[in-house]
Amino acid sequence: MTTAPVDTETAERPSLATHCGAIEFRNPVLTASGTFGYGKEFEELIPLSAIGGLVTKGISPNPRFGNPAPRICETAAGMLNSIGLENVGVEGFAEGKLPFLRTCGTKVLVNFFGTTFDDYVDCGDRLGKLDGVDGLEMNVSCPNIKAGGIEFGRDPRVLGDLVRACRKVIAKPLWVKLTPNTSDIVALARACAENGADAVSVINTITGMAIDARTRRPRLATIFGGLSGPAIKPVALRMVYQIHRAGLGIPICGIGGIQTGLDAVEFFLAGASTVQVGTQNFIDPASAERIVREVEEFCRQNLVTDLREIVGALKTTP
């Protein structure tokens, strides 16, 4: 164990370049879907070329207008949201948002979803053919209307079928954003790995609720919402580690409560090769760029010359 002080000025600049599936990233810090708009909203706040990539707001085949208000509420070290997957639709995205993204200087993953099996395939097919899209991230935390509203992503068999069907029509890298609302995250990751997904994003929000005791009402109009922020980091780390330990061979993008470079490093140690910064973009809109710097600083301080050295390097033996 080295404890010698490191001269960070002269130390060799560590390599943060990494890949997740077939996408090469200049660094492993991406921004998460739903917390970074369509990129342009942050143009004046951080140089987009400083981050590894961005994941857009989830896109559905047609525009959606979302849920009634209140849609968000703050909770202890976190927030709940029930936005209702509001978005501009494939056409609105291609015409209104993509031209900027083509020139934004970072990798662009497009998050997408549907409310039926065919919707997913249609949406993935159309988005995958657009120039300027580096990869797709499938959001499987949507209610499957034909199956009584149960999320597509909760049943490994349904998820596997969905991934296989989308894989057939999507030539670009295909990531699947897993729901943590399951008793067996490894089974979900396995269903993705066995059906051709290039990577899994772990985790989406955890279902929760908040109550206003004085009014005796739920704080969200939809009663339930998705919990995000630092409150969920331990759950996210656990799930990333479980998938990594299962040795499925599928790359993992870690998501959940990352606020600092050190938080990101914890995800790398647990087995993630990239991470996404989500709710923190609301708290400090310039944080993704800072987190990149802090990861680099950690590497320097700890004599890590290539970030890939620490992916999955968690020590669990005495």
Binding site: L45, G66, A69, A77, I83, F282
Partner: protein, 281 residues
């Protein structure tokens, strides 16, 4: 829009939980319009987690910005206790503002409690342009202790009509009752003059203001408040139902909206003279 660190240079208590924070280092807010807001956060760790949307009360040269707040929740409680020198992060100016004052209209500025800031700033803006006689403050609260900065408003030469629910100052009753009286007065005194209503305050008050102004055909602008996480149109948390499309966003489409574009509960607009209701005979 800018994102920067500012410092609290003064924290002035006004009683009853109201306080004015004076920030330094806000040069980039100098061109802000009345109605615009900032997202503000101190070094609060993870409690509270999100920045707080706060309306601007006043901006001045030398990078000074004033905010009025009332200590209600965790964020405002921490701000109330913060001492001069405290560092805060600021994102702003955000959102849109009220229309500018004009010599051709009389603007009734309707404020409820801590909804005062955008209207105070509008009056200050009018005073700076020599148009303070083209606006009138209609200001209400529960008690006299909820009506603040009255001296400053007098200092601008602003005419103010007050209302308190307990009658401790001004008309006893709601601010909307006073608004109706002022509309009647101006309609009678200057029938040719165009009236506009600009309002900020609790949601129910704003709906009541719209229910008064809309049937009169008075142009009415409401400054809305809603839970938001980002302030820049990203989280989509601050949706409010609108007429021109299902939702508008308080942060990026507002916070100032034409009342005629919002879905106002229980709004009744009587048919104009000579029109029928459309019902079959």
């Amino acid at each position: 829009m800018h994102y920067f660190d500012a410092r609290i240079i003064e924290n002035r208590a006004l009683g009853n939980g109201y306080f004015v924070l004076r920030l330094g280092g806000c040069d980039s807010l100098a061109q802000s319009q009345p109605g615009q807001f900032i997202m503000l956060r101190g070094d609060w760790g993870r409690d509270p987690l999100l920045p707080r949307p706060i309306s601007l009360l006043s901006v001045a040269p030398e990078g000074r910005a004033d905010l009025l707040a009332k200590s209600i929740g965790r964020g405002t409680q921490l701000l109330e206790k913060s001492s001069p020198g405290t560092r805060v992060s600021v994102l702003g100016p955000l959102g849109n503002g009220f229309p500018e004052p004009t010599p051709d209209s009389l603007d009734l500025l309707v404020a409820g409690g801590v909804g005062l800031p955008p209207l105070f700033m509008q009056a200050e803006n009018a005073a700076r342009r020599g148009l303070v006689d083209r606006c009138e403050m209609v200001y209400g609260g529960r008690t006299s202790r909820d009506l603040v900065l009255l001296g400053e408003m007098r200092g601008m030469g602003l005419s103010s009509c007050l209302a308190t629910e307990d009658g401790s100052v001004g008309r006893r009753g709601r601010v909307t009752t006073e608004l109706e009286a002022r509309i009647d007065h101006h309609r009678a005194a200057h029938p040719q003059r165009k009236l506009r209503v600009f309002a900020c305050g609790p949601r129910e008050m704003l709906w009541a203001v719209a229910r008064i102004a809309e049937p009169h055909g008075i142009e009415c602008y409401l400054s809305m408040e809603e839970q938001m996480a980002c302030g820049i149109g990203v989280c989509l948390g601050c949706a409010i139902p609108a007429r021109s499309r299902p939702f508008r966003y308080t942060c990026s489409d507002g916070p100032v909206f034409l009342a005629s574009d919002l879905v106002i509960p229980d709004l009744v607009i009587p048919p104009a003279a000579g029109q029928t209701t459309g019902a079959a005979p």
